[in-house]
């Protein structure tokens, strides 16, 4: 199990940041991802695995009018 923005989410081996974003249906493009406080570069979402028990923060910035 991992925590994403305070919500629990099932974990499975090899689950990447991209998988988490997809599962949470986070469609917004301006995201900042931190795993246990460590910043994940935007180009590495596909290759960064999320460890079991991790606290993932997926910060949405603002946009629009």
């Amino acid at each position: 199990m991992i925590s994403v923005n305070g919500e629990s989410l099932d974990w499975s081996p090899g689950k990447t940041v991209r998988d988490v974003i997809r599962e949470m249906n986070y469609r917004f493009p301006l995201l900042i991802v931190r795993i246990d406080g460590r910043l994940v570069p935007r180009g590495s979402y596909d290759s960064t695995a999320v460890p079991d028990g991790a606290e993932v923060d997926i910060i949405h910035l603002m946009s629009g009018g």
């Binding site: 923005n5 305070g6 249906n25 986070y26 469609r27 917004f28 493009p29 301006l30 900042i32 910043l39 935007r42 180009g43 590495s44 596909d46 290759s47 923060d57 997926i58 910060i59 949405h60 910035l61 603002m62 946009s63 629009g64 009018g65």
Partner: protein, 663 residues
């Protein structure tokens, strides 16, 4: 990046591992190996015109000279950047350049670096100007590729080649963004200083160019503002249950894809280029639809150009329960033509539709209009009635606040129900976001000085998704900073969108990415460049705070500046009806249990609606207390005398007014 896509090469004996298809020039720069290049920039595609970046590549079978700026690395190779063959080639090119442009410092520097001090050749057309154009083509390429314009290009051949605007005439399509001047390596293109005589025009331009660079490099992968404008938010808001559907009852709908930004990109937006509100804007998110044939109204059958639609116009359509792109374009056009705001029209029509479905209205009361949710034809007929000032249009056109009173007094409707579903605050219709799950955003609408508009503070993601502002104090701080900050754009006549609809590459690494500190610094420089007065984030906010508080006092004078005027319709804070509650029952039941401490087990839906309402209304009152405290206002929402003194707006009539209201 997948390891299979990485490749290791050797440049001047140094190994470097890069992504496949990285150019040799880029790979060399990453390990600090200098390769001269005149026509190369990371803002435009490789051009391979100057030939100075030629290097020698050995792939194990043979050696060959290639231009490093456009040579993609796809297998392990060995590269020499200054072999004898390379240097002989490079020197010849530089000698020719030096002969033609002997006084251009960039050319003489590059020549000197290659060991050339005097050209072997004499050029009959040598240009002695130290700022001569060296025909690198960067200017025309950034105009075409970066700005999506084609204002300048090469003209003439051979020695007569030069960069010109078509027919040597000043082009009305040039937006004056300055990108060509900024990228010009010799100073051949310069910007004429603004006739407004800013204190430091260069400082202003550099601040602007940083945003232009970000637009060129990142907009495609970020918000695609130049491609579809704010319309990109339609599908996003739907995904987060924030797109208003049927008078804000719901936040998503299965038909949303019918009015998504892709539909407009593929079938409607006819301008394949950005369309700015004013010259010089390189975000240029306005969109246009050409040749749209109208189906209704005074221009029925005519083909017209439509400016839009933006997000709010699309969100307004879902709010009316209409998911027909033709309808969106038609109501957009006629709102513009009649001088109506699409937000106000759609929100008040959504209110009318709910009143119609709830039995408050019928087709007798509306003068024949049958107008349930989804009735696009009826909505357009109502729009024309408002435009002509006829029939039910005379009532509807006066807005929700008027209608609430009118329907109660003339149709016997329940005023409490109308207050709950009539989405206005201070007499202004809500814009198109569902705020039920974000207390901070409820405050953002309710406390906003002009009425229910999100442009003071859009906090839904921070609050509801990121959970960055969990306490009342956190929310109050956000409802202090962001309205003050965004007021500053109004003070300076600036659009807010370039602040946070494109993001600097290092924004994630800053302490407060939501504030986009890199851009705030740019605005400080912009202000200093115009006025000569250095600024900080705090000083900009302080400017706004003076005006914001003055505006609050103005509201007070006009009868809108107290706590009772910051009330919101309950639809903004929670589910009004059983139907709404039951549509998100799992969510609301959990909130009752976890947030309100009430076990929903055994409660009827009506009881749950009432219990949740009691809880949420209390939360909103706590929020007002916290925000007023943070802003230095009384518990009645009136700026205190101390606050006015602190801000230096303690004019006698202002003090007299706030004292009268307990300030």
């Amino acid at each position: 990046m997948d390891d299979r896509n990485m490749i290791t090469v050797e440049i001047d004996g140094k190994p470097v591992t890069v992504e496949q298809d990285t150019t040799i020039l880029e790979a060399a720069r990453r390990i600090g190996v200098f390769i001269p290049a005149l026509c190369s920039s990371d803002l435009v595609d490789p051009y391979a015109a100057c030939r100075l970046c030629v290097v020698e590549v050995d792939d194990g079978r043979r050696k060959k000279l290639v231009t490093s700026c456009n040579y993609p690395l796809r297998r392990p190779v060995s590269v020499e950047t200054s072999s004898e063959k390379v240097m002989r080639n490079r020197k010849t090119i530089l000698e020719m350049m030096l002969a033609r442009w002997p006084n251009v410092k960039l050319i003489s520097d590059l020549a000197a670096h290659a060991g050339v001090s005097e050209p072997r050749f004499i050029h009959p057309g040598a240009d002695l100007n130290p700022n001569a154009c060296v025909l690198c083509g960067l200017c025309m390429r950034i105009c075409e590729q970066g700005i999506w314009e084609n204002i300048i290009n090469f003209t003439g051949r051979g020695a007569d080649r030069s960069v010109r605007m078509p027919y040597d005439s000043r082009q009305p399509h040039c937006i004056g963004c300055g990108a060509c001047a900024e990228i010009c390596p010799t100073g051949a293109i310069t910007m004429a200083d603004d006739p407004n005589q800013p204190y430091d025009a260069e400082m202003v331009r550099r601040a602007g160019m940083r945003v232009t660079e970000e637009m060129i490099k990142y907009d495609d992968e970020q918000c695609d503002m130049r491609g579809v404008g704010t319309a990109h938010l339609v599908e996003i808001m739907d995904a987060y249950d924030l797109l208003p559907v049927m008078n804000y009852r719901f936040g998503a709908h299965e038909d949303t894809p019918k009015i998504s930004s892709d539909v407009f990109r593929q079938n409607y937006f006819s301008k394949g280029k950005p369309d700015g509100c004013w010259l010089g804007c390189t975000m240029a998110c306005a969109k246009a639809i050409e040749g749209f044939r109208l189906k209704t109204g005074p221009y029925r059958g005519e083909k017209v150009l439509v400016d839009g639609p933006e997000y709010e116009t699309l969100g307004g359509s879902s709010n009316m329960g209409v998911f027909d792109p033709d309808f969106v374009v038609e109501y957009n056009f006629y709102c513009d033509t009649y001088g109506l705001d699409t937000i106000s029209f759609s929100t008040m029509t959504a209110f009318i539709m709910e009143c119609y479905e709830a039995g408050v209205l019928d087709n007798v009361k509306t003068g024949g209009l049958e107008i349930p949710f989804g009735a696009g034809d009826a909505a357009l007929e109502l729009l024309h009635l408002i435009g002509r000032g006829e029939g039910f249009g005379l009532i509807a056109g006066r807005g929700i606040r008027y209608m609430k009173k009118y329907f109660a007094e003339n149709f016997g409707a329940d005023p409490a129900f109308l207050q709950d579903i009539g989405m206005e605050a201070k007499g202004m219709e809500y814009s198109e976001y569902v705020t039920k799950e974000s207390l901070a955003q409820q405050g953002g609408y309710g406390i906003a000085l002009k009425g229910a508009q999100h442009d003071e503070a859009w906090l839904i993601f921070m609050d509801m998704v990121n959970k960055q502002i969990p306490t009342f104090e956190d929310k109050a701080e956000a409802l202090h900073y962001f309205p003050m900050w965004r007021t500053w754009f109004g003070l300076c006549g600036l659009c807010k969108l370039p602040w946070n609809d494109v993001e600097p590459p290092d924004n994630a690494e800053t302490d407060e990415p939501a504030k986009v500190p890199g851009h705030v610094q740019g605005y400080c420089e912009f202000f200093e460049g115009v006025t000569g007065k250095p600024q900080t984030m705090d000083s900009l906010v302080r400017m706004s705070e003076k005006v914001y508080n003055f505006q609050r006092v103005f509201n007070l004078r006009m009868g809108f500046g107290r706590r009772e005027h910051d009330v919101i319709p309950y639809r903004s804070a929670g589910p009004v009806t059983v139907e709404e509650y039951e549509s998100r029952q799992e969510r609301y039941d959990a909130q009752l249990k976890e947030d309100a401490g009430i076990d929903p087990k055994g409660m009827s839906s009506v009881e749950k609606v009432a219990a949740l309402r009691k809880h949420r209304e209390k939360q909103y009152e706590h929020l007002l207390d916290a925000v007023y405290k943070r802003r230095g206002w009384t518990s009645d929402g009136v700026p205190t005398v101390e606050k006015l003194l602190d801000l230096g707006i303690d004019f006698p009539d202002v003090l007299e007014l706030v004292r009268k209201h307990g300030g």
